[in-house]
Every structure is written in C-alpha cells, then in structure tokens.
Amino acid sequence: MLTIKNLHAEVEDKKILKGINLTVNAGEVHAIMGPNGSGKSSLASVLAGRENYHVTEGEVLFDGMNLLDMAPEIRAREGLFLAFQYPIEIPGVSNINFLKTALTEIRTYKGLAPLDAKEFLRLTKEKQKLVEFDAKLVNRSLNEGFSGGEKKRNEILQLAMLEPRLAILDETDSGLDIDALRIVSKGVNKLRSEKNAFVMITHYQRLLDYIVPDFVHVLYDGRIVKSGTKELALELEEKGYDWLKEQVDEKQAEEKQLGEMQLGEKEAIQ
C-alpha cells in the first residue's frame, strides 16, 4: 500500500530525514518509535504534504501512485489520514459542518453522491458510538475549548467517519490519561481491517499494549535503525534508546574513521 524508498527531506535547510525505507501493506499495523527529535513527526508531515517540508531525494508510492506529486487534499481524498499530534482549533466552524464538508469532498472525489442530511446524521451517530465520542462535542466548534483528550478523540472520530486506507497516528497517545487511552485504542482496534493499514508514531510502549503492532521500527537521526516485531518495543521500554543510539553512533564513528583512514592512506600513497 505504502512504499517509502530512500526518503530524504529537510526543513529550512536542515536535514531531518536521511534515507527512510519502509513498506506498509494492507491489514498491517506499524509502530514507529524513537527518541525526541529523531524525525518521527517529520515523517508524518512529509507524508501528509505539509508545506515547508522539502523532499530532496527518494520516492513514496501510495498504491503505486506517486504520493509526493499530490496536493495535501488529494492525498487525503486518496485515503491518507493523519491524526494530528496537536489538532488545530477552528473557532465558529462546527464540528458537524466540518465533518460533512470533509466527507462530501472525499465522496465527490470518488464519484459518490454526497450523503443526505439524514444518512449523514445516522452515520455520525454510529461512528460516534463506535469511538465513544461525546455527542455534545459534535455540535461544538471544531476543537475549540476541547481538552487535550477530547481533541485526540475527535481525531479518531474523524478517522472513523472518513474511513481512510492508511491512517498515520502522530503521538495520539500523548496527553491521554489511561481511560482515554483505552477508549481511543478500542476505537482504533474496531476500525482495523484487512483493507486498511495504520502507522502509529509513539514514544511509549504503553500504547502498544492496547493496539498491538505487527511491526516496530526505531527511528533515530532521520533513519530507521532497527526493525522488529512487538518484542522490540518491550526491549526498548526496558533498556531505553541509549543502547541503540550508542550502537548507531559507534557504527557511524567507525565508518567515519574508516573513511578518514582510507583517505589518509590514499593521500599517503599519492
């Protein structure tokens, strides 16, 4: 479904992704972990098409199409969904009106007629129950005055309504108390199917107790430095990231040294 090949990207001339390779198939759940500043959220931003992220090398295929050529709204209509780490407040725009607009845009793109008001309300009610979203919040302004947890749950409601093929959850667990985490996870688990895939970006193993991933990747300094199954997450929980960092840094230092030595040898020969 999603194939990322040697992806390099920068923000304001700062290199943040330095050769990401990742394949996600339908039906899979991938977790991307890593220390602060390793490029996890940047990867999500690049995939969603945020403006100031510039891809300098590599490619991303989404069901065979060149994802990087598409405008952000086209990526969304094609079925790529980003649950934001910090969902945006839009005063005066009602949640329900926003959901209707988004759903209509996506349906129109797919050649489907917009849902009429009755069908739409029925769908909203159904999804709202599925993700245990407070009905009162549906009529409020989009995210305005929502608590951190309410905002995150609103992201999951949108996910349920828009039914994307690929959902990227950017630290959806951050700022959630244990009850909210359980509710959000339950929602995501209900939405999992053979046809869709999830990429979860998280700091903590905690989320992975609730949403069990098929694969775990560790991102460090703009690269995936280790991949494994859910056991890798447990190992990280136990040992932290430092041992991995050391491994990577050592390896890099060795390579650098090796390079310098080779260079030195060359110079000596000359």
Partner: protein
C-alpha cells in the same frame, strides 16, 4: 499551492457581478446648485415644504467641510461633476412583472434575485430601487390589510405627507454631516415603511438597491417608523455593475422605534469594489441612525459589507426610552485596495438601556479595515450596560486592521465592557482542513464563515445563506 499564492489569488479575484444594463435614463444636468435641487423636486412633484427642507439641506452642505478624522485618505470629490438624478425613462407603474422591461428582469436574474422566485418562495415583499426610482412593488395588498405602508419614498411623500413631514430628518437632521446634508438636498428616492400600533409585520421587507447610470450619484433615503408595540424586519441588499469612474453613494437611513417596538435592519452590501488596483469602485458614505424613542424599544443593525472601494458608515442607535436596546452586528471584508472605516455609536440616554456590539473585520490583500465605535453613557443612563466585542481577522501580511473604540461615561452606575482580538488565518488551520480532503479555497471560506458566524446568525434565514455565499465568493481565488 503555498500561502502566498492563495493570498494573491484571493487578493486578485475579479468582481463577479460586473455588467451594465442598457436602459435609457432621464438624467439631471451635471452639477449641484439650487436649480438642480428645484429640478429634482419638480420632477418628483414634491410639495413646497419638502423643497424648502431640501434647500435648507443645501445650505447646511455649503457650510460644512469634508471630515479629516477618518483613517484613510479621502479622495478628492468634485461635487460639480456629479449628476444628481437619474430615473429609468419608462416610469409607469406596473401591475405585474410581465409589464416590466425584460432587460431589467434579466439583470435581476443575473444577480440571482428573480422577483418571481422571491415572491413565491421567500414570502418577501420586494420594493426594487433601480437607479433611484421604484419600478416594482409586490405584496402591497397583503400589507395594506394590516395597515402597513411599504412604498417608495416618493410615493410616501405623495400619499402620506403627514408621516413623512413628522419624521423626516428627526433622527438624521439635514445638518448632521456633510454627506447627510448632501443627501437631504438631492435625495432621489428610497423606501418608506410605517408599521401601525401593535402590528407584527408578517414578512421580511426587502429592497434591492442597484446603481446603474454612469456618473450618477446615488442618494437614497429610507425612513422606517415602527409605532408602539410593532415589529418589522427590513432587508437591504445590493450589487452594482462594473464601472471605470468612482461613484459616490451617500444614503441616509432613519429608523424610529416607539415604545415596545422593534426594528431589525439587515444589510448585505456588495457594490463594485474597484479593480485590483482600487480603480473605479463605489464610495459608500452612508449615514444610518435609529432612535428608540419609547420605553422597551429595540433597534438592531446587522451588516455584511463586502463591496465598495471605501465603506464609511456607522449605523447608530439613540437609546432614549428607558429599558431600550440597541444592537450592532457587523462583518466587513476588505481585499485588494478596499478600505472600510465602519462601526457604530450607541448613545445611552434612558435608564437601564442596553447595547451590544459585535464587529468582525476581515482583511485580505492590501485591504484596510478600521472599527470605529462610540459608546456614550449620558448622565441619566442609570444602570445602562454595553458589551462590545471587536475582532479582526487577517489573511496575508499586506493588509491592516485597526480599532478605534471611544467610550464616554457620565454615569457611574453604567457598565461598559470591551473585548478585542486580532487573529490570522494560519497555515496550520488551512493544512488541517487540507488533510481532511478540503482544498485551500474551501478551507478559507469555511474558516471565514466560522469566524463571522455570530453575525451571520443574526440575519434572516434566506439572507444568511446568501451572505454566507457572498463571503465565500468574495474571498474565493482561482485556487487549484
């Protein structure tokens, strides 16, 4: 699509309703003097007292100078280069729409305000002002049964002179300001409404204004009187054809609400704003004021201002009756080189008077938006209250928003609250909506309509939909 492109697109959007209808007009000789005024008065077969009132207005006009306090550079206006009267030549009254000039009807079709539809669907009685003279009036009979008078100003002068004489200039005197004085001396036509005691007007009364003759100033005069315990909601909406030369529009609106009466006055203004360099737009210098004469009276102004090169107006309320209420809800949009200096004045005179001001400015392109408001608590305004909320929304970094709130309180039991915010449409907001499949153009429309919702909610239903569409169209670029 980056932000700058989006902003440029918004800023450069061409006016959508630019077209000229070719109907022969009867135009007064260019220039302003007593003869012009006598010409207009004679054309309209006015009684002597009205001519003499006009002439007094002219004297006031001559005595006054153009103001200097406004927050923009006032373009030079040559009052001698303006034609002060134009009326469609075919002036006979119509019994039905079939008799109306098909070209005129086609103009309305283009504007999407088909009278037929209006009549059937909305239950709106429409008094159309086309180049200063009313050419079609509907629903008159139904209103007649209730004793409601809804007619052109000219007809009111002929048929209800006692009412006109009693209230004309009672809220906006001919000496009020230079543009009000100009209007008093040369006003062409407008609307007149009288709601008798205890009558609740069963439908929204609506007038569409349109400016259509070259070099013609438009000087409407509207007078609405709500007698004791009555209620009326009045809608005013306008668009204008594309023009190369600036057109001065100096209208006057007077509202009189007697005891327990309520007047709701809504405006959607979309006159030609000029091209992207600001050339050729309308100067909209309007004096609008209402008086709550009796106790428990209420006057509510709602305006959606998207057009005109310069909008300069302060719909105000004099709160004379005890427990009377004044409200002002405004959305003003400026883009390209548009300028808006608008707001309200609330004069609290009576005890326990209340006022509420909600102003939402939106600036895009090189637009400049100023809110200017006065809240005045008189010495007898015991326990009077005011709440003001004044918000500005900026789109891009070349536009401006300014706030000039004036507060004067001579009564220490009065309460005045003022809140103000300034915000920018953020890239983050647009990206968030993009990520949900909504393109940037729609995203801006959604955000702006959300921002203006509190004001749009005040408009009658059918008007609110129109206004919402207008806001979207106004800020729409060819984004894609």
């Amino acid at each position: 699509m980056n932000d700058n492109e989006l902003i440029d697109n918004i800023a450069n959007k061409e006016y959508e309703f630019g077209f000229v209808t070719d109907i022969e007009t009867d135009i007064a000789p260019i220039g302003l003097n007593e003869d012009t005024i006598r010409f207009i008065s004679a054309k309209k077969k006015e009684p002597e007292w009205l001519l003499s009132w006009r002439l007094k207005g002219y004297q006031s006009f001559l005595r006054q100078e153009l103001p200097k306090w406004q927050n923009f550079e006032l373009p030079a206006i040559d009052f001698q280069q303006i034609s002060y009267y134009a009326a469609p030549r075919n002036k006979k009254k119509y019994n039905s729409l079939d008799e109306v000039d098909p070209e005129l009807l086609a103009t309305f079709e283009k504007l999407g305000i088909s009278l037929n539809e209006q009549k059937v669907l909305a239950g709106v009685a429409v008094d159309v002002v086309f180049d200063s003279v009313s050419v079609a009036t509907s629903y008159k009979e139904k209103l007649n049964e209730l004793g409601i008078i809804f007619c052109s100003f000219g007809d009111a002068v002929q048929e209800h002179p006692e009412l006109v004489k009693k209230y004309l200039g009672s809220v906006v005197p001919h000496s009020d300001n230079i543009f009000a004085a100009l209007n008093a001396s040369v006003f062409s036509d407008g609307s007149f409404v009288y709601i008798p005691k205890g009558v609740r007007c069963p439908m929204e009364l609506s007038t569409y204004f349109r400016i259509n003759a070259e070099n013609t100033g438009q000087f409407e005069r509207t007078l609405i009187i709500a007698d004791e315990g009555s209620y009326v909601s009045y809608l005013e909406g306008c668009t204008a054809p594309m023009r190369d030369e600036n057109q001065l529009h100096a209208a006057v609106v007077e509202l009189v609400a007697l005891g327990n009466a309520e007047i709701k006055y809504s405006t959607v203004q979309n006159w030609y704003p000029g091209n992207k360099d600001g050339v050729g737009g309308i100067y909209n210098f309007v004096t609008k004021r209402g008086i709550c004469k009796g106790d428990h009276a209420k006057i509510s102004w709602t305006q959606v201002e998207t057009g005109s090169a310069i909008t300069w107006k302060y719909p105000s309320v004099i709160l004379q009756g005890d427990y009377s209420t004044g409200e002002f809800y405004s959305v003003a949009v400026t883009r390209n080189k548009q300028i808006a200096d608008t707001g309200t004045k609330m004069h609290h005179i009576g005890r326990h008077t209340k006022s509420r001001i909600i102003s939402k400015g939106i600036s895009a392109g090189h637009g400049n938006n100023s809110y200017r408001g006065l809240v005045q608590m008189g010495p007898k305004a015991e326990e009077a209250r005011n709440f003001t909320q004044c918000d500005s929304l900026l789109i891009g970094d070349k536009c401006g928003a300014h706030t000039f709130p004036y507060i004067e309180s001579k009564n220490n039991t009065a309460t005045i609250e003022h809140e103000a915010t300034t915000s920018k449409i953020g890239e983050d907001q647009i990206f968030y909506l993009n990520q949900r499949g909504i393109d940037s153009e729609k995203a801006v429309a959604l955000i702006v309509n959300g921002y203006a919702r509190e004001v749009l909610n005040q408009l009658p239903m059918e008007f609110a939909v129109e206004a919402q569409k207008l806001l979207s169209i106004t800020l729409e670029g060819s984004v894609g």
